[in-house]
Each structure stands twice: as structure tokens, then as C-alpha cells.
């Protein structure tokens, strides 16, 4: 499966060689399906034909109907935002592996509740937890690493302990591999991916979670004078309290996407390293845990939006 460039090209090539099959499969198209939806569903059907050995192209059968039904479940989930009982969802998640839909629509199933945003075909069903996590404010964020820092020798001045990079390195080695495979199956790093989704699913496959902090641009003091734009949001992404990237966008979602893209760029090198670096935070220089690739940095880091290594004393003093 890995290494497929574009599912659509392969499918049309395959169908070009099998005109009879192409004719048959075209008869399965729904009247109201758009080209985009149909191309994706067609790929889904063709990819899963093997799993339904009793399906005989051109002959109506109940196993064909079952395949069609599951393809509709998958398409309804991706394009309409429907969800189904868990057993069904698990099944189509497995079957839909590898079918890539770019720029799928975003729907919400709960009015007034959290936006259940999502719809990347390769991503899994647990959409709302992602939205929740993305929304979590600095409070919750501070809470999480705090539990971790408690294990470290306290009482010293703020900043990560010197052995921290070594502690975090194994995790990021694993993450590096996960990201590399994910990007391969998504057709390589590029501008048209859902970067956040990729990063999130990789991090979660390594049993960790991402932490995003959002700050409105206008709340950031000391911006370069040339920056006239005062609208928009900035997002900072950390994992295991290690800084991964910062992004700016018109709204929080866009900022998050940019930050994920920046973070994924780090994974383009031959390896990733966790290091302690000096950054600006609230106008002070602090020591922060940062994820780096092996290339030398031409410029410094963007100022930190959050700082998980600070003890109370210092915070009280500074505020």
C-alpha cells in the first residue's frame, strides 16, 4: 500500500485496462454523486473487491449490495458527516485505509456542542476528541506537563532539567518513524495535506497527545514594527512539553494547521533531536525544550507562547 502516489491515477489506469469492469463500475454510481465523491467511492469499491470474493462484476448479489452499502457508509461518513455504530465504523476505517480524499468537507453533528470537525479519509473516527484537545486552553495544558515535572528535582530555578532531552529522545525517534510512514502513504510532504491530522494521528499512534496553545495576535506584545496586521491567531504546538512549531492564521484552525506544517517540516530531515535552547518568553530569555532537525538554524525561534517549566515562585514574581 505504501508508496502509492495518487490513488486516482492508479485507478483510472487500472480501469483503462479493464473496459468491461469500468463499464460495470460506472453503473454503480449514484445519480446525485459529485465527481469527487464518486471517484473516491469507486476507489473504495475497487480496493475492497477482493475481500468480497463472491462479488461478480455485472451480476447483482447480496454480497455486492453489502460492499455497496459499506462504500456508502464510508462516503456518508467522509462527505456528509454521518456516524454509524462502532462495529460498522471500525470496519469501514479498515476498508478505507489508503483511500485519500483531499479537501473533504467539514461538518458538525452536534449543534451548540463542540465542533466535530474532521474528514480526512485516512484519519480515524475519533474526531471529537481531537477537537477537544485542540481547544484545550493553557490551563489544561499547564496541568499536563506539571504532573511530569513533579518527578523532577524541584526547587531549582525554572527551566528543563539537563537530562530532559535524553529522556524525551526515544519517544521522538518513534514519532519520527511514524511520521515518515504516514507521509509516504499520504503521497509525500506537500502543501495539500491536512498537516494537523497527520501529526495528530502519528502522535496518538505513539500513545501521546498534542498540546496546542492559541493566542490572539493582538495580545502579543513586542511584535516587529513592520507587522501591521493585528487580526488572527498564533498557535504553538508541543508534545511531551517539547516545542514543535508555531503558526499564524486567520482563525485558530488555520493557525493550528500552519503550526503543524512547521512541525512536520522538522521531520523532513534524516533525524530529529531534542535540545535545550534559549527562547524569548514574555520578554525574558528562558531555556526551553525544542525539537530540531540536524540542519543549522539561520534564525532564532519565534517567542514561546507557553512555558511549561516554570515554578510558582518565578511566575508569581514575574506577574
Amino acid at each position: 500500500m505504501a508508496g502509492e502516489r495518487s490513488g486516482e491515477d492508479i485507478v483510472s489506469e487500472y480501469l483503462g485496462q479493464n473496459p468491461q469492469l469500468a463499464h460495470w463500475v460506472e453503473s454503480l454510481r449514484g445519480y446525485c454523486e459529485t465527481n469527487k465523491q464518486w471517484v473516491a467511492r469507486r476507489e473504495f469499491i475497487l480496493r475492497n473487491m477482493e475481500a468480497f470474493p463472491t462479488v461478480d462484476p455485472g451480476v447483482p448479489s447480496s454480497s455486492l449490495d453489502r460492499l455497496l452499502s459499506l462504500s456508502m457508509v464510508w462516503a456518508n461518513h467522509v462527505f456528509l458527516g454521518c456516524s454509524y455504530p462502532q462495529a460498522v465504523m471500525d470496519k469501514i476505517k479498515e476498508m478505507g485505509e489508503g483511500v485519500v480524499v483531499e479537501d473533504a468537507p467539514v461538518h458538525r453533528t452536534t449543534i451548540g456542542g463542540l465542533a466535530k470537525a474532521k474528514r480526512s479519509a485516512t484519519a480515524e473516527s475519533d474526531a471529537d476528541s481531537c477537537a477537544k484537545r485542540a481547544k484545550c486552553g493553557p490551563n489544561e495544558l499547564d496541568g499536563r506537563p506539571a504532573g511530569r515535572t513533579a518527578a523532577w528535582p524541584g526547587g531549582q530555578k525554572s527551566g528543563p532539567p539537563p537530562q530532559a532531552p535524553a529522556e524525551h529522545q526515544p519517544f521522538f525517534n518513534r514519532l519520527y518513524k511514524a511520521v515518515a510512514w504516514k507521509l509516504v502513504s499520504a503521497g509525500g510532504f506537500g502543501p495539500n495535506l491536512d498537516h494537523f491530522e497527520i501529526l495528530r494521528s502519528c502522535v496518538e499512534s505513539c500513545k501521546e497527545t498534542l498540546a496546542c496553545v492559541f493566542v490572539p495576535l493582538k495580545d502579543i506584545a513586542g511584535l516587529p514594527a513592520g507587522r501591521t496586521q493585528k487580526e488572527g491567531h498564533v498557535c504553538e504546538i508541543r508534545c511531551q512539553s517539547v516545542y514543535m512549531g508555531t503558526g499564524y492564521g486567520r482563525d485558530e484552525g488555520a493557525a493550528k494547521a500552519m503550526a503543524s506544517k512547521e512541525a512536520l517540516k522538522v521531520f523532513q530531515g534524516r533525524k530529529v533531536t531534542v535540545k535545550i535552547c534559549r527562547r524569548r518568553f514574555k520578554g525574558r530569555d528562558v531555556e526551553d525544550l525544542v525539537l530540531l532537525d540536524e540542519q543549522p538554524r539561520s534564525q532564532g525561534f519565534p517567542p514561546a507562547l507557553s512555558y511549561p517549566f516554570q515554578d510558582e515562585q518565578l511566575e508569581d514574581g514575574s506577574s
Binding site: Y31, L80, C82, H107
Partner: protein, 971 residues
């Protein structure tokens, strides 16, 4: 179309079409209800021939009412439906025909809407329960007080769908009901009753239309029949106009928008569930005597006179100097057609046409502009001329851009005004600072209760000074009080402080409710592109797809119009998208539609259930059918998502939004069902079959002997009705398999109602007159039709007449105005005044409204128990168990606690009571539950019960001494 906005718009613009109903209420004498004699002339000063009931409009409010307690069980629901029909019959008093039509299996075009409604109902139900539980916990944690949760099984309104057991039962009950009334009620004696139950395919109102259409097209039809159609749907108005009958009236419940609904959590009115604070209940009236009465009066009915609407339309649509002769009847058909653009049950409405923004006026103006160019009318007998429609659409399309911009402006203006209004209201609530209170409070002039002399003025002044300070304490005190009530299970200490904090924050928040994001932004450049991208997920360049949508919409318009004028053209057709195209996209539509597929068949009832139910309502289906809705191996699992997205589509509330549900693939549905058909029980097979309309009439009807003769000769083939025996009504009669026959007792399907031993009704299968497949029903006035008198003020009245114009208020132009003479006013004043003093509300004079009539819909309450006990003793029933007279309880007669079984019995008992009132004897034995004493309960518990909403207590003044016998004591 289920758009309340349409009716509101219509009744505002054409105010004279509304006439309020005069309803003669049954009188009660010594607890015995005297039925109204409906053979008397109609008090509305008009006589109706035919009454048609769109039964689903009756079933829904009777089974899950919004403004009163829900019936406890199915039997009560049936009785409620019977009563509702009785009420309508009493108001309308039809002299020839009563036609009851329950929705049967609907055309596919409608099924998508039904599906969406049922999925939503299910989803909303789940979400409401979740939210309730969440907020309940929150409130209890803060120390608020809430009445304990009621244990009741939720009535799943989804069972009001053809094919369910409930509908089957309902049909049986209605047969019994009709037989009973025809046998026993003099007003029904000469009426021909048609019952078209859920086993007959078609929507209720369209079955009615089919009946009217097919009667009209046969030569014996009386062209001056006065029709009255009952139902609240706005499309009944369209349907009525489409018949071209001169005398057509619609009756519906009065439209009362924004009625306050009690909070689902604490049952108090005045806030929504999300704002519930769990504060103690406020007393209703000085001694809480209104606690169990509904603050609103019983729903009143109104008539909508379509002949008056026709007058209005004639003024609006009449055009001079046309290139072709003007025909008013044809222009009405065009008007009806244009209303479909704005909303109907089968198509989403065009984004640019919003009824609230005067879309119909806009369309009419465009129509009058364009009609010169079109060279004729848009429609004929329900067939659409697409070339001409395109001209209208293009004219709308030109304005689209401006419409969207204006909509945005209006919307923002509205928001601004609302914000200002809220601000103002906040200030006004406090009253101006100079407003005096207490004894010095301003008094309205001319009231009976004059202010008394001022006492202790100094103290009063002090109070007024302290008042503002107290206001703050009050909020805290209220929550403290409530937390005390909750018993010791909350930490009362910090609760009040957090409470008031919570209050404050809420109030601030309400100013800026979060708005859903609108990605389409129709008011900004590039709206069309964004619309197609977000709604259909296609690029605007995808011309093919756009044509597809437009083509489907054009087919839809043709289908809907045909449906209204000729009946269902195709049971299969439906609009396969969730959104409509823009008016400007209707280009070159002339060739887009030719004809519908012929010979399509409706679904079977159980098949339709599979098509419209969510998996959560699967309990109405046989097990193997049900498993198709949830099993991963089902070949139709994709029809049943357990959650789905709702696109608000620019609207504010979820119910206005578009439910993004997948469409049902008919082929796959039928294929999957073929495997499980053998699993049906004989009973289910019967429910799944198509039924027939049934006709009932009584002994004194001229047709009676004819039908009886049919049964005697056991004639097997259909027989035509002799026109002269039944007011020119035609149709084919077939013998019923399990008929209602005279002198054959009818057993009651409802335990609390008696069997009919002296039956004099007869029932027989009825089929509407048959016409050839290609027959076209003409949309014209019939020859011999006499137009009713004009009601509107003629435009040239001032010029021609001396006297001032007297507007007509009812049906009769020469109506006698009612008046009160002096003694009448005296009597009125006397009674009113007594009530105003607030003591003994119910003591002697009957209350003016409708509460506490002892009819079964009422809540339980101390007062009611008094009435019942008296009635019972009069009728010789055993007196109720008596509460021991605690000294403290002499003032307050507590109703028993709000436990389900207790109330259930009570209402059942009152239903018995009704039976008694109808003079059928057989008084119920059970009145013991009214006031039994829970001695096991300690005093605290009882105190808790007092505040609960469902019982209330009333001041005991004026109660007779309780009957002494049969005390009941718990050991």
C-alpha cells in the same frame, strides 16, 4: 408546507380571511355533562356540508401535547382524540359528510422529509436527555432545588407512522368511535362518515383532495357543496384553492406564536433549560391556587375563508390590457405554483426566496411584469409551462444579489435592535428610581379595590429606602431556601455565593450568543462559488452537476404541482439533493422535463417504516428487519447512521437546519427486505397490506337500506352508489370482511369505554370513482356554482354610498351584535370582583376559563379531588378514602405525591367519570386514590412534596366537611 411563516404572512396580509369560531360548550348540571345538540343550527351562522379531518394534525397534539400533561397510556390518547373530534364536530356541524383521513404510506418525495423528521426527533430526544442530566447535576451540585425526576415511559411519537401497531389500534378505535356516535349522537345520524386509515396509501390531506377531485369530476356532484377542512398545515390553503370550489373553509387551531413553554427540568415557565437555576417555585396566586391550572386558555379555533382569500387575490392578480384574455381561475393556479418556490414539503426552497422577506409579493410583482412577455399562464390543470417559468426565474435571478445583501443588512439591524431592547428591558425591570412602592404604589384609576388609608408611613418610607439593598439579598435567599428544601445532601455553606456569581455571569453571556459560522456568506462577492463548494462540494465550473441539480428541481416543481392538481404522478420520484439551486441557474429548462415514470407503486407500510425510521425506533419492526438497521453485515446499513450533521444553512435553530442524511436506495432496500419477508407473522402481514377506505352511516340515512341489502345478498363485486341516495356522492362499495353491522354489538377496544350493545351503524368498503389513467381533472369553476357574497369593502364604496362601510366579521353579513344589559354588567362585575380578591378562587362561582372542568386532561390537584368526591357521592360511588385530619392540614388538602401510578389511576378515574356524564351508567369504583394518606411519610417529606409542580394545594375554604366513612389507615 410545514412553514408557520406562510400562514402568519397570509393572515397578516389578508386579515379578513380569518373568522373566529363560535363554540357552544357543553353545560354541566350537578356534575352530569349535557352534550351539545349538534342538530341545532350552527352558531357560526353558516351551514357546512362536508367536514374533512386531516387526522395527523389531531393525533400529534393529542398524544404528546405541548401545553399540558401527556396522556398516561394509549387508551387515554384515544379518548383525547375522540374528544378532539367531538369538539370539531360540534363547531363545524357537517350535515352530509365527515371524512377522516390518516396519513398512509407517502410518496417517495415526501418520505425524505419524514425520514429527516424522525431521525431528528430521535437525535433530539437523546440530546435532550443528556443535557437534562448534565444540567441537573450541575444545579444540584450548586445547591439548587429540582423536583424529582418523573418516571414515565416516553411516548415515541415516531410510532405515528403507517404500519405500526399503534396506527392499527387507532384505526380500530376510530371504527368503534364512529359506530358509537352514529348510533347515539343525533347530530351524526344523517352524516355519511368516511374513514381512510393508515393502511390506505397517500398523505391524509391528499387523500381528501383526491376524494374532492374525483367527486367534482362526476356529473352528480353538487357544485355548491360547502367544504370545511381541518388542519394546520399551510398547504391546505393551497389545496383548497386548487379545488376551485367556491365554498371552501379551513378550520385550524388559533395560531399562537411564542407560547411560553415550561422548562423541561424544573417545570417552571420563564426560562429555558440551559438557564435553569433550580430556584424554588414561585407561588401562583396568593395561595398558590393557580398552581395546577394552565396559564393559557384552551386552544380556540379559527376559520380561514378561502372565498375571501380569492377576493383578495382577485384584486391583486387582476391585470388589464393583457395580450390574452384574463382568467382569474388560471391566475390563482399560477399563484399557488409560485408559492411552491417559497417552500413545500418536497423541495428545499430557493435560497433567495424567504417568505419573511416578502418573497411572495416579489414573485407576484415579477409575475405581473413578466406575464406580458410570456404570452400566457404558467400552469394549466397542474401542468407546468417551463418556458414561461424560466422567464420568472430569470427575473428573480437578476435580483438575487441584492436580496442577499439586503438580508444581511436586515439581519444586522435586527440584532442591533434586539440588543438595545434587552438593555432597555433590563432597566425597565427595576422600574424607575422615583417609583414608589408598598402603600404608596401607584393605583390604577377606576378599580374596585380602592387603596386603604396609609398606615405607619414612616415605616413604609424606611422599607422603600431599604428595598434596593434587599433586592440583592433576595437572590441569595432564594437559592438558600431552595438548598434547604433539598434536604441535607448539599453543602449549603458556599452555595449562595457561587450561585450569585453564576447568575451574574449568565446574564452577561446572554447578550452575545455564539453565532454559527457561515462559510457561504451569500452577501459577499463570489457567493455562488462558495455556495456550490460548501453545500454540494463541487466547483462552480462543474456545469454538468449544476444542470443535474436544476433538472431535478424542475422535475420537482412539475411533480409538486401535479400532485396538488391531479394526484400523485409518480410514487418513486424524489429530489435527490439536500439543497436547492439558485434562481439564476434556471437556464434552458424547457426540455428538462417530459413525463414521469408510469405505473409506479407505493411502498408497503412496513417497507416505508424501514425507509423512514432510525435504528433507535427499530422496536416497531420485527426482529430480523430491525437487525438490518444495525448489523455491520446488513446490505442497507448505510441508510441508518446513528448520528448525522445538521447544517444550519444560515438559520438559527437546529430544527430549521438541513439534516444531512443519506438517501435510501430503493432497489437495495427491496432486495434486502426480500430475504426477511418470510419472517413476518400473520398479524404483521396483515398490517403490511394495503387497506381500503370505509364508509359508515346510521339507520336513518337513505343509503342505509341499500347497503344492508348488499350484505344480505352477499354481492361479491363492487356496486356503485346510487347518486340520489347520498347527495350526489359517487363511488364503489365493496363488502367489508369484518363489518360493523346494525344490531350486532360492537366491542370497545378501550377498557374504559363501554361496548355498544344497541348499534345502528353500518360500515362498508368505499372506493373513489375511477377515471382513466390519462384523465385530466380540470381546474375550473363548475357550472352552476354560485359565488358567495363579497366580504371586502368595494374599492368604490365612498363614491357610491352615503353610509359608512360596515366590515363583516363572521360568515353572516347581518350578524346580530351581542350586548349586555345593565343587569348583565352587574352580574359580571359581581363575579369578577369576587375573583379579584383572590380568596376562594373556586369556591362557588364557576371559574370563567376552562380549567377544572373535571375533564380528564387536567392535572391532579386538591381542588379536583374535591369535585370528584362530590360527584362520586352523588352518583352513589363509595366515598374517597379520607385523610386523617391533622390540625395543620385543615387548611391544606394535600394531593398525593407525584408518583406515576397514582396519577395514572386518577386520570383513569376521571375518564370513567366522563362515561358517567354521558349517561351510560357504570360508575367507576376507584376514587380511593384521591386523598389517601401516606402516614409512613414523615412530615418533612410531605413538606417537600408541597412545592412540586404537579399538585399544588388549594386553600380549603368552602370545602364541605369530608365524608366520614371508610377511613383508611396505613399500619
Amino acid at each position: 408546507m410545514g412553514v408557520p411563516a406562510f400562514f402568519r404572512w397570509l393572515s397578516r396580509k389578508y386579515a379578513s380571511i380569518i373568522v373566529h369560531c363560535v363554540e357552544e360548550k357543553g353545560k354541566e348540571c350537578n356534575g352530569v355533562r349535557i352534550p351539545v345538540d349538534t342538530t341545532k343550527p350552527n352558531p357560526n351562522e353558516v351551514e357546512f356540508d362536508n367536514l374533512y379531518l386531516d387526522m395527523n394534525g389531531i393525533i400529534h397534539p393529542c398524544t404528546h401535547p405541548e401545553d399540558k400533561a401527556a396522556p398516561k397510556n394509549e387508551d387515554e390518547m384515544m379518548v383525547a382524540i375522540f374528544e378532539y373530534i367531538d369538539r370539531l364536530f360540534n363547531i363545524v356541524r357537517p350535515r352530509r359528510v365527515l371524512y377522516m383521513a390518516i396519513d398512509g404510506v407517502a410518496p417517495r418525495a415526501k418520505m425524505n422529509q419524514q425520514r429527516s423528521r424522525r431521525f431528528r426527533a430521535s437525535k433530539e430526544g437523546v440530546e435532550l436527555v443528556d443535557e437534562k442530566n448534565r444540567i441537573r447535576e450541575e444545579i444540584l451540585a450548586r445547591g439548587g432545588y429540582l423536583p424529582p425526576e418523573e418516571i414515565k415511559e416516553r411516548f415515541d411519537s415516531n410510532c405515528i407512522t403507517p404500519g405500526t401497531e399503534f396506527m392499527d389500534n387507532l384505526a380500530k378505535c376510530l371504527r368503534y368511535y364512529v359506530a358509537d356516535r352514529v348510533s347515539n349522537d343525533p347530530g351524526w345520524r344523517n352524516v355519511t362518515v368516511f374513514l381512510s386509515d393508515a393502511s390506505v396509501p397517500g398523505e391524509g390531506e391528499h387523500k381528501i383532495m383526491d376524494y374532492i377531485r374525483r367527486q367534482r369530476a362526476q356529473p352528480n356532484h353538487d357544485p355548491n357543496t360547502h367544504h370545511c377542512l381541518c388542519g394546520a398545515d399551510a398547504d391546505l390553503i393551497m389545496l383548497g384553492l386548487a379545488t376551485h370550489e367556491p365554498n371552501f373553509t379551513i378550520i385550524r387551531e388559533e395560531f399562537k406564536p411564542n407560547k411560553p413553554r415550561p422548562c423541561a427540568l424544573c417545570g417552571q415557565i420563564g426560562h429555558e433549560i440551559k438557564d435553569c437555576q433550580g430556584t424554588a417555585r414561585e407561588k401562583q396566586g396568593e395561595h398558590d391556587e393557580f398552581a395546577d391550572s394552565m396559564p393559557v386558555s384552551e386552544q380556540e379555533f379559527i376559520f380561514i375563508r378561502l372565498c375571501v382569500l380569492r377576493e383578495y387575490l382577485a384584486r391583486e392578480l387582476t391585470m388589464a390590457s393583457l395580450p390574452f384574455p384574463f382568467d382569474f381561475e388560471r391566475s390563482i393556479d399560477d399563484w399557488v405554483f409560485m408559492c411552491f418556490f417559497v417552500g413545500n414539503d418536497f423541495l428545499p426552497h430557493l435560497p433567495s426566496l424567504e417568505i419573511r422577506e416578502g418573497a411572495i409579493d416579489r414573485l407576484v410583482n415579477i409575475y405581473k411584469d413578466v406575464v406580458h412577455k410570456t404570452g400566457g399562464y404558467l400552469t394549466e390543470n397542474g401542468f407546468v409551462n417551463l418556458e414561461r417559468v424560466e422567464l420568472i426565474m430569470q427575473a428573480v435571478g437578476v435580483a438575487e444579489d441584492n436580496i442577499f445583501k439586503k438580508r444581511k443588512e436586515d439581519d444586522e439591524g435586527f440584532k442591533r435592535r434586539m440588543k438595545e431592547k434587552r438593555k432597555r428591558m433590563k432597566i425597565e425591570q427595576r422600574g424607575p428610581a422615583y417609583m414608589t412602592t408598598g402603600q404608596f404604589a401607584p393605583q390604577a384609576l377606576g378599580r374596585r379595590d380602592r387603596p386603604e388609608a396609609v398606615q405607619n408611613a414612616r415605616h413604609q418610607a424606611y422599607d422603600m429606602r431599604m428595598q434596593s439593598r434587599e433586592q440583592h439579598n433576595k437572590d441569595a435567599a432564594q437559592s438558600l431556601k431552595a438548598s434547604l428544601k433539598n434536604g441535607g445532601n448539599s453543602s449549603a455553606g458556599p452555595s449562595d455565593s457561587t450561585d450569585s456569581k453564576g447568575l451574574k455571569r449568565k446574564a452577561d453571556d446572554s447578550d452575545s450568543e455564539p453565532e454559527p459560522e457561515d462559510n457561504v456568506r451569500l452577501w459577499e462577492e463570489g457567493w455562488k462559488q462558495r455556495y456550490y463548494k460548501t453545500k454540494f462540494d463541487v466547483d462552480v465550473t462543474d456545469e454538468d452537476f449544476r444542470r443535474k441539480v436544476v433538472k431535478s428541481y424542475v422535475e420537482g416543481l412539475c411533480w409538486v404541482l401535479r400532485y396538488y392538481y391531479q394526484g400523485c404522478a409518480s410514487w418513486k420520484w424524489y429530489f435527490p439533493f439536500h439543497y436547492a439551486p439558485f434562481a439564476s441557474d434556471f437556464k434552458d429548462i424547457k426540455g428538462m422535463f417530459t413525463e414521469f415514470e408510469k405505473g409506479t407503486k407505493p411502498f408497503k407500510p412496513l417497507e416505508q417504516l424501514m425507509g423512514v425510521f432510525p435504528a433507535a425506533s427499530g422496536n416497531f419492526l420485527p426482529p430480523t428487519w430491525r437487525s438490518l438497521m444495525s448489523s455491520p453485515d446488513s446490505s442497507i446499513i448505510d441508510f441508518y447512521p446513528d448520528d448525522f450533521a445538521i447544517d444550519l444553512n444560515g438559520k438559527k435553530y437546529a430544527w430549521q437546519g438541513v439534516a444531512l442524511l443519506p438517501f435510501v436506495d430503493e432497489r437495495r432496500l427491496r432486495a434486502a427486505l426480500a430475504d426477511v419477508y418470510p419472517d413476518l407473522t400473520p398479524e404483521e402481514v396483515k398490517r403490511n397490506s394495503l387497506g381500503s377506505d370505509v364508509l359508515f352511516l346510521g339507520k336513518s340515512h337513505p343509503l342505509f337500506d341499500f347497503i344492508q341489502e348488499l350484505y344480505r345478498t352477499e354481492s361479491l363485486e363492487g356496486t356503485e352508489i346510487p347518486a340520489e341516495l347520498c347527495h350526489g356522492i359517487q363511488g364503489t362499495l365493496n363488502l367489508d370482511d369484518d363489518p360493523i353491522l346494525p344490531d350486532k354489538p360492537v366491542t370497545s377496544p378501550i377498557p374504559m369505554l363501554r361496548d355498544i350493545s344497541q348499534n345502528s351503524a353500518i360500515g362498508v368498503k368505499f372506493k373513489d370513482p375511477h377515471y382513466a389513467d390519462d384523465f385530466v381533472f380540470k381546474a375550473v369553476l363548475l357550472s352552476g356554482a354560485k359565488m358567495p357574497n363579497k366580504v371586502l369593502k368595494p374599492g368604490d364604496w365612498e363614491r357610491g354610498n352615503r353610509e359608512p362601510w360596515r366590515p363583516q366579521l363572521g360568515f353572516n353579513p347581518n350578524r346580530q351584535q351581542a350586548h349586555l344589559d345593565q343587569s348583565g354588567f352587574r352580574a359580571l362585575g359581581h363575579n369578577m370582583n369576587r375573583n379579584q380578591h383572590g380568596r376562594g378562587q373556586y369556591s362557588n362561582a364557576p371559574p370563567p376559563g376552562n380549567y377544572q372542568q373535571g375533564n380528564y386532561r387536567q392535572h391532579s390537584g386538591g381542588q379536583q379531588s374535591y369535585q370528584h368526591s362530590r360527584q362520586n357521592s352523588l352518583l352513589g360511588a363509595p366515598p374517597p378514602f379520607q385523610q386523617p385530619q391533622f390540625p395543620r392540614q385543615q387548611q391544606h388538602q394535600y394531593g398525593s405525591g407525584g408518583h406515576g401510578w397514582d396519577r395514572a389511576q386518577q386520570s383513569q378515574q376521571s375518564a370513567y367519570q366522563q362515561n358517567v356524564n354521558r349517561g351510560r351508567g357504570g360508575a367507576g369504583q376507584g376514587s380511593y386514590q384521591q386523598r389517601f394518606d401516606n402516614r409512613r411519610d414523615d412530615w418533612h417529606d410531605r413538606r417537600d412534596n408541597r412545592g412540586q409542580q404537579h399538585q399544588g394545594y388549594s386553600s380549603g375554604r368552602g370545602y364541605p366537611p369530608p365524608p366520614p366513612s371508610r377511613r383508611y389507615n396505613w399500619k
